[in-house]
């Protein structure tokens, strides 16, 4: 099983050639997913979600999850 990884907005433009999937066996937390997906260090204000829910980067992930990283929200 794998974990799908998405980047949005300015992060998507900044992270060159990220992996869109990482091996679930290699990661325990959201932070681990970031490290597997890209060589870039994680910027300070990055927001994270797992399966469409806001999460802290320290929270766990499971096989089959969709993990997303994005900058502060600016809608509305």
């Amino acid at each position: 099983m794998t974990i799908r990884v998405k980047f949005f907005a300015s992060l998507r433009e900044q992270i060159t050639d990220p992996k869109t999937e990482v091996d679930g066996a290699l990661v325990k937390t959201i932070s681990d997913v970031w490290k597997q997906a890209t060589d870039h260090p994680m910027p300070p204000h990055v927001l994270c979600s797992v399966n469409l829910e806001h999460k802290d980067a320290t929270e766990p992930v499971n096989d089959g999850d969709e993990v997303a990283f994005f900058p502060p929200i600016t809608g509305g």
Partner: protein, 146 residues
């Protein structure tokens, strides 16, 4: 459907009326409505266009959660959130939040809550096109309370 994501320009008044048509006139006494419109200036610069990116699936989920939070906090009859995505031009509406309730206090409070909550939770990002053709991501929202 209290949450709408619109890839094309929308008319806030028509959508508000259309939603209201499903309700029984006389049942509510107060309607508070907010429309956010794209300005042609931001942080001192002329802005000629904007692209609104979102996270399909999560966006709808968060907007529905925002409405359900409002329903649990205030005695409201109904609520509507409409949000634009994609390429948009100055003068076009970006967002519409509407709350219907029996009394005005709940409508005012909940309508403002919808805006503040969606701005902090719903995954949308703005990228502006400036007069000289350059682009920039908007980095943060303006404060909601003065």
């Amino acid at each position: 459907m209290p949450v709408l994501i619109k890839p094309e320009s929308f008319d806030p008044a028509s959508l508000q009326k259309a939603h209201e048509a499903s309700m029984s006139a006389g049942d509510f006494g107060a309607t508070a409505s907010f429309t956010g419109t794209m300005r042609n200036f931001n942080e001192g610069d002329d802005v000629t266009g904007m692209m609104l990116e979102h996270y399909p699936g999560m966006t709808e989920k968060e907007l529905e959660a925002v409405i359900s939070d409002a329903r649990s906090k205030w005695d409201i009859q109904d609520a509507l959130i409409v949000h634009r995505v994609g390429d948009i031009s100055p003068g076009e509406p970006i967002v519409l939040t509407v709350v219907w309730s029996a009394h005005r206090a709940a409508a005012f409070d909940a309508c403002r809550f919808l805006m503040e909550a969606l701005k902090s939770r719903a995954p949308f990002w703005k990228k502006e096109t400036l007069k000289d053709g350059s682009h920039r991501w908007v980095e943060k929202n303006t404060p909601g309370y003065s």
